[in-house]
Symmetry: C2
């Protein structure tokens, strides 16, 4: 049995003002004409029937998610609290263990990433499934195209299988988001990959790794199993689960990690400037969407789904006008948009959050 | 008799998106809490009764002007077409000739300028009135504080009267808006003044100068006098009046120009960046108005009377959010905002004009 578990719990402050508390990035149609989560599920259709796709999301986002996807209701798992990826994946693993037993394999996929080459993507998942059956915690690594400091990296270890057309390696180590000189060195060395946040493993491999490296989470999951679907009890237990990512809590510590190299035009679409890389540009390198009048502008992102943007003499700027709010920042600061959102929270400007 | 004629015919594209076709700069409360035209009229109260103040404006702006001022209806002169300052001033001169005769003196004042020192301003007008009675076309000149390229200049000639406390000179010549090196030279030489667009003269002096230097306008005004208030006839005549400024059409050519130096903290408030000079700044040099959240911003103008502006990492930028439209430009480009407005016209985006 092969399942897909789509993680849709992000609150997505980096696309403010278009993303809001109840309108996170995965529900936005910032690329193409449908929300990223709908594109993610569509992508999986070639490999998974609807019954074999689970979505894990925050309980209060369930309503928004339902509007954009068509899955059996029992395949939507709502987290009572937001407790990062380790807990969310653990919850999905319990559900699959109940349904299919511990030998089932599942892929974990972010709901809000961009993938260009569908065919290559699905082939990579199939390959990763085979490696997962061998008892590995498998991650999909992407060859870095430039020294991105917003991603985690992993270092390649020994080759695990030589399939010629697609590398499969042991993972030597995972590394956190590096600074720019370190990232540049990683790119130059050629033995580091971007950690794309896409994983494949058997239920038992994952649960064993959690038991070993995250005993608190392990105990919490056991209690959830015993709670026999009592929502109040599950909510109480979930609240106390450790708030930690699967990368940090499990992958960095485990010694049975493998990596399959994915080459399918991937982006995590992590900021307005990252988005700009994926959209069509005018002859002066501007991305324009919606009602925009630009005079003497270049290499800027001018995006409105509200009123009109009049831009004059801009270089490398981001201007986004959405839902009665406007963001203006240099392209190079677009990773810091959350700082604006944090300040809005401080100031209690609820209607813009 | 001493009258004030306030020119309120400007269409004011330089404050887009706050200024619009039917909401020109003089009707905006961009400084203080009342529209600039209301501030202009309030300023005149110390010297003129309401009966002695005329306002000339475009007929289609009459309604908007009425809302903000309290003058006798017969003191509002509507121009059927926009024909620049020479025609507007000529129209006012005809009205005053009819009411008070040719010896009446009147001051011409823009409706949308800023004046800091009211007392000094009124004293300057009184002094200019005395010079006007001697048969001069009097202009108020301002000592340049920096090499502004957006203003016309005038060069001082021989002293006309030595009053010690306030210089009165013949005008050697008027010069059009200079380029930056020329403006810098003017400032350094110390014998050039900014032409503030404020004039004082007798009705007969002005009408004689028009007769000599703008014979077409002279003939048009004669025909308007003979039209005996027939609005259709006046409209036909007005349509054909030359579209020329009083500076270019009369002052540059006349040999009886005098200048009184005004020292009362003057600004023509000609752009968003000029406005910023007059408004309070935060500790990092930003002007903020309305709902603004700024992170790491300096020396920027952040102005909203609509929704929220979230500004991140801006240096020397203008962001204005008004009436469902947003302007973003560097401070140094704020003189070119009309280029955005022109493009909006080209594109037929009427609702934003």
């Amino acid at each position: 049995m092969f399942y897909a578990v789509v993680l849709a719990g992000g609150s997505g402050t980096r696309f403010w003002p278009k993303s809001r508390k109840d309108q996170p990035k995965q529900l936005l149609d910032i690329i193409g004409t449908s929300p990223l989560i709908a594109q993610t599920l569509e992508r999986l259709e070639g490999l998974f029937t609807r019954e074999r796709v689970l979505v894990v999301t925050q309980a209060r986002q369930l309503e928004g998610v339902r509007r954009h996807i068509d899955l059996p209701e029992e395949n939507l798992l709502g987290e009572p609290y937001s407790r990062n990826t380790a807990a969310a994946i653990g919850l999905a693993a319990l559900e699959l263990k109940r349904r299919e037993g511990e030998e089932a394999v599942f892929a974990v996929l972010p709901s809000d990433h961009y993938i260009d080459d569908l065919d290559a993507f699905l082939k990579t998942l199939l390959l990763a499934k085979e490696v997962a059956r061998m008892g590995f915690l498998v991650t999909i690594g992407i060859r870095p195209r430039y020294p991105e400091t917003g991603y985690g990296y992993l270092e390649l270890g020994e080759p695990l299988l030589d399939l010629g057309f697609q590398g499969i390696y042991h993972v030597k180590r995972f590394v956190e988001k590096p600074d720019l000189p370190t990232a540049a060195r990683y790119v130059e060395q050629g033995t580091f990959l971007w950690n794309s946040g896409t994983f494949v493993w058997q239920v038992q491999t994952l649960l064993e790794a959690i038991a070993r490296h995250l005993p608190d989470l392990h105990r919490g999951l056991q209690r959830i199993e015993q709670a026999d679907h009592d929502p109040d009890e599950i909510e109480r237990i979930y609240k106390d689960l450790p708030d930690i990512s699967i990368d940090y809590g499990v992958m960095e510590k485990a010694d049975n990690c493998a990596v399959v190299i994915g080459d399918y035009g991937w982006s995590d679409v992590g900021s307005w400037s990252a988005l700009a890389e994926l959209l069509e540009k005018d002859e002066r390198g501007n991305v324009r969407r919606g009602e925009v009048v630009a005079v003497d502008c270049s290499n800027s992102v001018l995006y409105s789904d509200d009123g009109l943007i009049g831009a004059l003499g801009l270089r490398d700027m981001v201007v986004v006008y959405s839902g009665g709010a406007v963001l203006v920042c240099p392209v190079e600061r677009s990773q810091d948009v959350r700082k604006v959102v944090e300040k809005l929270k401080e100031l209690g400007k609820e209607r813009y959050l």
